[in-house]
Amino acid sequence: MSRRISQSYIYGWLLLMPAAIFLIAFTYYPAVATLAKSFFSQGTALKPSEFVGFENFAYMLDDDVFWKVAWNNIMYAVGTIPISIALAILMAVWVNGKLPLRSITRMAYFTPTILPMIAVANIWLFFYTPDIGLLDQVSAVFGLPSHNWLGDPDTVLGCIIAITIWKEAGFFMIFYLAALQTLPPELEEAARLEGASRWYYFRRVMFPLLMPTTLFVLINAVINSFKLVDHLFILTKGGPDNASSLLLYYIYEVAFSFLDQAYASTLTVVLLLMLALIAVGQFYFLDKRVHYR
């Protein structure tokens, strides 16, 4: 009897092994190693790595660049998430209705999503280029002076935010569109018979029923805002003066340009902690307000 049980254990573990090896090698080990590394100094040929406790974290708190990119990242999240979600709902409601050329409109809204980020960045680079770019060409018609959109610390983050909204709103729209199509049309008719305006119906019925989607989209949007850096490589490389640098891009720079893996690990740990905290907060606070059917 016990032999059969141990045999089936071995069988079970063998089945689990391929997936387990990949998960451990590429997810759990790096995560644990990163955490460990953040408590060690960066080793050099002369000075080997040694345990330094929270020294890396203390350094981080004194690092002006860290505070700058953290602030940039918050502005980036605040700038992109609400607007792209609002736009996504608006577009979804619009293309869910009766509309000529409906599927073409839907596709048009979704197109930015299927483009690779690098291609998107290149397209927008043409828009933002001083003098010959689309923005400057248009503003020149109205007699406005040329502006170096990506070269000005005041406008660069706004430019990046605009690109992200353009790219993400269509993606989130798909989720809202799917959710809208599960809403029975009788709800709208029942509300209409009671004299509810479209706005009242949206506010009291449609939006609350879309809350599960909103929560899902919100968490995705938050993670994305800390995760997306591809466009920075093409557009600004974080400049000028770190005005458009985001946390992950800074981590990349620290790890692979400054070759300080210990400090990069510290920053990664902090980023992960922040994300975990936000996700827990979102579930904790929003879940009670979400009605799941």
């Binding site: 029975p184 009788e186 709800l187 008719e189 029942a190 509300a191 209409r192 018979l193 009671e194 004299g195 509810a196 009242y200 009291r204 019925v205 609350p208 029923l209 809350m211 009605h291 059917r293």
Partner: protein, 352 residues
């Protein structure tokens, strides 16, 4: 105030015609039934009355006013949907009060009306539940409560009982009917269930293929069906409609002359419950099978190459086909023109 009148109402979607030149009138305080098989246009007609669907042609008047293109909210009517259309994220109380809140009714008045309506439909203890925590019958009551709290003189119901089990449906029929009489509402009720129509309606409007087949009180539809379709749609089991063969003096079924004074081909109609077995006379049939229902048995039989049903009291067993004779009273015979399906009262049934 709440008389509903349709004249020449037509609904088209491109080439397709859903409702074809329908006219009828529902007087104030009447419980009217729109009855018909699925796809006959009864729901579309109801939705046009509600204002949820545009009218392609014709005039709809409510309380003497032309409301053909009035927005749904201004027609002073409530509606109960087949799916109930309850708002799943709102509790029972919020669902019932939805319309009053839209119209910004004072809270004190809302509270009194809610208490009264909840009492009427028997939901008083369930006001803070979500629809998902209610049974089918309770959801149905919430939908009813939401319709009557508006105190509109007209209530439209689109197959409201079709999602309930048979026993509950029976109870709700009686309750809805009692509610309508107590509140004096004008109700237009859509159903494909003829038993529901017969038991609830003051007036039944039978639709087929977008047109009115017959309208009248339930007993008129049963006793004097105007068309072969009405005859076969009303009553369970449906009326037997037998093709007849023209003979010199009239028309015959399987060699027995049953009608005289016929004019061309006609259908001979007799309800299963109006036939009885006899030892002598009548016509000969071959009994094929029996469907036992408790108080009676529905016997399937063949006359020549046609099938008929005969209802007989008690329990009859037919293990193998057997010959028998059936007869009927001539006053229960209905005759329809074979081409148009119209009722023909000039033909006389012969005693057999």
């Amino acid at each position: 105030m709440s008389t509903i009148e349709l004249s020449g109402i037509t609904k088209r979607w491109g080439e397709a015609i859903g409702v074809d030149n329908v006219s009828f009138r529902v007087d104030e305080g009447t419980f009217a039934i729109l009855l018909g098989p699925s796809g006959c246009g009864k729901s579309t007609t109801l939705r046009m009355i509600a204002g949820l669907e545009d009218v392609s042609e014709g005039v709809l008047s409510i309380g003497g006013n032309d409301m053909t293109s009035t927005p749904a909210a201004d027609r002073k009517l409530s509606m109960v949907f087949q799916s109930y259309a309850l708002f799943p994220h709102l509790n029972v109380e919020e669902n019932i009060l939805f319309g009053l809140k839209v119209r910004k009714t004072p809270p004190a008045e809302m509270a009194t009306r809610l208490a009264k309506v909840a009492e009427i439909v028997g939901l008083s203890g369930l006001l803070d539940r979500k629809p998902s925590q209610l049974s089918g019958g309770q959801r149905q009551r919430v939908a009813l409560a939401r319709a009557i709290i508006a105190e509109n003189p007209i209530c439209l119901m689109d197959e409201p009982l079709s999602n309930l089990d048979a026993k509950l449906r029976q109870e709700m029929r009686i309750e809805i009917r009692a509610l309508q009489q107590r509140l004096g509402m004008t109700v237009i009720y859509v159903t494909h269930d003829q038993a529901e129509a017969m038991s609830m309606g003051d007036k039944v409007i039978l639709l087929n293929d977008g047109k009115i087949e017959q309208e009248g009180a339930p007993d008129v539809l049963y006793d004097r069906p105007a068309t072969a379709f009405a005859a076969s749609f009303i009553g369970t089991p449906p009326m037997n409609l037998l093709k007849t063969v023209a003979v010199d003096s009239g028309a015959a079924i399987d060699g027995t002359t049953v009608l005289e004074g016929t004019n061309g081909a006609c259908l001979f109609g007799i309800r299963p419950e109006h036939m009885e077995f006899t030892d002598a006379g009548g016509i000969e049939v071959e009994l094929v099978s029996a469907d036992y229902l408790g108080s009676e048995t529905i016997v399937a039989a063949r006359v020549g190459d046609q099938s008929i049903l005969v209802q007989t009291p008690g329990h009859v067993r037919i293990p193998e086909p057997v010959k028998a004779r059936v007869t009927w009273d001539t006053k229960n015979v209905h005759v329809f023109d074979a081409g148009s399906g119209r009722r023909d009262d000039n033909v006389r049934a012969l005693p057999i």
